[in-house]
C-alpha cells in the first residue's frame, strides 16, 4: 500500500470565489476520500427573524445569497403570503417570474464562465461574463440594482415594467440568445473541453435519488425533479418542461445548465406575452401566525423555507434549506477515485454556493 497524504483544498482557493475547505486524502494522484469542513461563511442570519419584523426580513433573505437573491425573496414572501392568506395580483406574479428567470440566466452564465475557468479556458470565461453583463444591465435598468434587485414586497412587487421596457428586454434577450448560441459549440462539443468534463465525477441515477440531489446536479443524472413543476406563482400558466440529461458526469451537468439558459429565455418570453394588467401589490394587514413550508426552484436546485409566526410582527423561526446543502453529499460521492487535478472541475460542477449553505 502506498502512502496516504492529506491535501487541503481551500478555504482560500483560486478557482472558488468562496471559502469551502475540503481535506483530500490522496494516494499517489488519486483522491481516496474527501472530508468537508464548513462554517467559514456562517453568519447566523436565521436568528435575525426575531430581531427584524417580517417586512424587514425580506432584506435579510435577499442577502442569504447574492446570486439567487431574487428567488430567496420570492420564496420568503410566498410563505408569508400563504400564512396571511394574501391574494397576490396576477401581474405581480408574472413580474416575479420575469425577474426570477433573469436571475437564473445570470446565475447560469456566471457558472458556465467559472466552470470554463476551472478547466483553464479563460477566454471562454470572459465570453460568458460578457454576455452576462447584458442581463445585469436589464436588472439595473428595471430594478435599480445589478445583483440584489430587491423588487419583492409582501403581497407583490414594488417595481413595474412598462411596454417599452418589456420590448427592450425581449430585444436584449434576442441578442443574449444569439451570443450564447455562438458558444454552444465550444463548451459542449470542443474536444479539449470534453476531455476535462466527460466522465469526471460520475453520479448514477440511483445515487442521485438516494442522496437527494436537487437542481441541475440531480437533473444531470436523469432525475426529473424541478420545483417549478409544482406551478407556484405564475408558473402554472406557463408551458414548462425540465431539462434532463442521463449521463451524470460534469459534462451532463454543464449541458443541463447551458440548456436551462434557453429555457429561461423562453419562459421570460412567455411571461412577457401573457403579462396581465392589474395592481402591483395587495394591501397587507395584520401579522403572520402559524407554520408554513414553501418550496421554490433556485438556479442551483430546490430551496425550502419553513416559517413560523406567532401573531406578532416578529417571526418565531425562519429555517432555510438551500440547494447546495442538499448537493454536498452527492459531491462527496463524486470526488473519490478521481484525479487530484479534476477536483476543481468536480467541485464546481455542482455549482456550490457556500453562503447559501452556511447562511
Amino acid at each position: 500500500m502506498s502512502n496516504r497524504t492529506v491535501i487541503p483544498f481551500g478555504p482560500q482557493h483560486p478557482v472558488l470565489p468562496e471559502p469551502i475547505h475540503l481535506k483530500l486524502v490522496v494516494e499517489d494522484e488519486i483522491v481516496k476520500e474527501a472530508v468537508p469542513a464548513l462554517g467559514y461563511v456562517h453568519r447566523g442570519l436565521e436568528m435575525l427573524a426575531t430581531k427584524r419584523d417580517y417586512h424587514q426580513m425580506i432584506n435579510v433573505c435577499e442577502r442569504v445569497c447574492g446570486i439567487c437573491s431574487m428567488i430567496h425573496a420570492v420564496c420568503y414572501s410566498q410563505s408569508i403570503e400563504e400564512l396571511m392568506k394574501i391574494e397576490v395580483p396576477e401581474r405581480a406574479q408574472f413580474l416575479r417570474v420575469i425577474w426570477s428567470e433573469l436571475h437564473r440566466m445570470h446565475s447560469h452564465l456566471l457558472w458556465l464562465g467559472l466552470f470554463a475557468d476551472a478547466f483553464g479556458f479563460e477566454a471562454l470565461f470572459m465570453q460568458f461574463w460578457k454576455v452576462r453583463e447584458r442581463i445585469m444591465d436589464i436588472n439595473e435598468a428595471t430594478a435599480g440594482n445589478r445583483v440584489i434587485v430587491s423588487v419583492n414586497v409582501i403581497g407583490g412587487v414594488r417595481a413595474d415594467l412598462s411596454q417599452e421596457q418589456l420590448r427592450w428586454i425581449l430585444d436584449e434577450l434576442e441578442i443574449v440568445e444569439k451570443e450564447v448560441k455562438a458558444m454552444e459549440n465550444t463548451i459542449l462539443n470542443d474536444y479539449t473541453v470534453k476531455s476535462r468534463t466527460v466522465g469526471a465525477g460520475v453520479m448514477t441515477y440511483d445515487q442521485a435519488y438516494e442522496l437527494g440531489a436537487v437542481g441541475p446536479t440531480g437533473r444531470g443524472s436523469g432525475l426529473k425533479s424541478d420545483a417549478r413543476m409544482l406551478g407556484y406563482g405564475a408558473y402554472k400558466h406557463l408551458d414548462f418542461e425540465p431539462v434532463v440529461h442521463p449521463d451524470g458526469d460534469s459534462y451532463a451537468r454543464s449541458w443541463v445548465r447551458f440548456h436551462e439558459v434557453y429555457r429561461s429565455i423562453d419562459l421570460v418570453r412567455q411571461a412577457a406575452a401573457a403579462l396581465p394588467e392589474g395592481d402591483l401589490a395587495a394591501k397587507v394587514k395584520g401579522n403572520p401566525e402559524g407554520e408554513v413550508v414553501m418550496r421554490v426552484e433556485q438556479p442551483r436546485g430546490e430551496c425550502l423555507y419553513y416559517v413560523k409566526g406567532n401573531g406578532s410582527k416578529f417571526l418565531d423561526r425562519v429555517r432555510i434549506r438551500t440547494p447546495t446543502f442538499a448537493n454536498i453529499p452527492p459531491l462527496l460521492t463524486m470526488v473519490p477515485e478521481c484525479e487530484l487535478a479534476d477536483v476543481p472541475v468536480i467541485v464546481l460542477s455542482i455549482d456550490p454556493c457556500i453562503s447559501c449553505t452556511e447562511r
Binding site: H13, P17, R63, R146
Partner: protein, 145 residues
C-alpha cells in the same frame, strides 16, 4: 536602479487577491465582474492572483466571523510589504445587514488594518475600481515612507 524599477512597476501593475470573508456573494461576483471584458481592469495592469505571496493588494468582501478571522489574518500576514487592504461592501465596512447576528465580529478593520473602504450593497464594479485606484495612491505613499 533595480529597486527603482520594482517600485515603479508595483504601483503601475498591482496584483490583487480577493478573499471572500463571509459575504453573500453579491460583492464577490461584482469583484470578478471587474476582471471581465466590460470593466476589464487588466488594461491597468491589474491581475487577480490566487497566492497571497504574489499579491500587493488584498480585496476583502463580507463580514468577519469567528471562524474565518484566523484565515484572514493568516492571508494578510503572508502578503509581502508594502501592501494595501480594501474592504468592499457594507458588510466589510461594518457588518452591514448582518451586524446583529451572533457569529459576526464586524467589519474587516476589526482584524486587519484597512486602507480603503468601498461602500455599497453590493458595491458596483465602478466603485471597486475606484477603490483600487485610491488604494494605489496610498500604496505609493507607503513605498515612499
Amino acid at each position: 536602479m533595480f529597486k527603482k524599477l520594482i517600485k515603479k512597476s508595483r504601483a503601475k501593475s498591482p496584483w490583487i487577491m480577493h478573499f471572500d470573508c463571509g459575504s453573500c456573494n453579491g460583492c464577490d461576483i461584482e469583484t470578478l465582474a471587474c476582471l471581465t471584458p466590460l470593466y476589464d481592469v487588466e488594461r491597468f495592469g491589474i491581475i487577480n492572483v490566487g497566492n497571497p505571496k504574489h499579491a500587493d493588494v488584498l480585496l476583502v468582501t463580507g463580514t468577519v466571523n469567528h471562524r474565518n478571522k484566523a484565515v484572514l489574518k493568516n492571508i494578510y500576514d503572508q502578503m509581502p510589504d508594502p501592501k494595501a487592504v480594501i474592504a468592499i461592501g457594507a458588510c466589510g465596512l461594518s457588518g452591514g445587514v448582518f451586524r446583529d447576528c451572533y457569529n459576526v465580529v464586524g467589519g474587516v478593520d476589526k482584524v486587519i488594518p484597512v486602507d480603503v473602504y468601498v461602500p455599497g450593497c453590493p458595491a458596483k464594479p465602478e466603485a471597486i475600481i475606484d477603490g483600487v485606484v485610491q488604494a494605489l495612491a496610498k500604496f505609493e505613499q507607503k513605498q515612499a515612507g
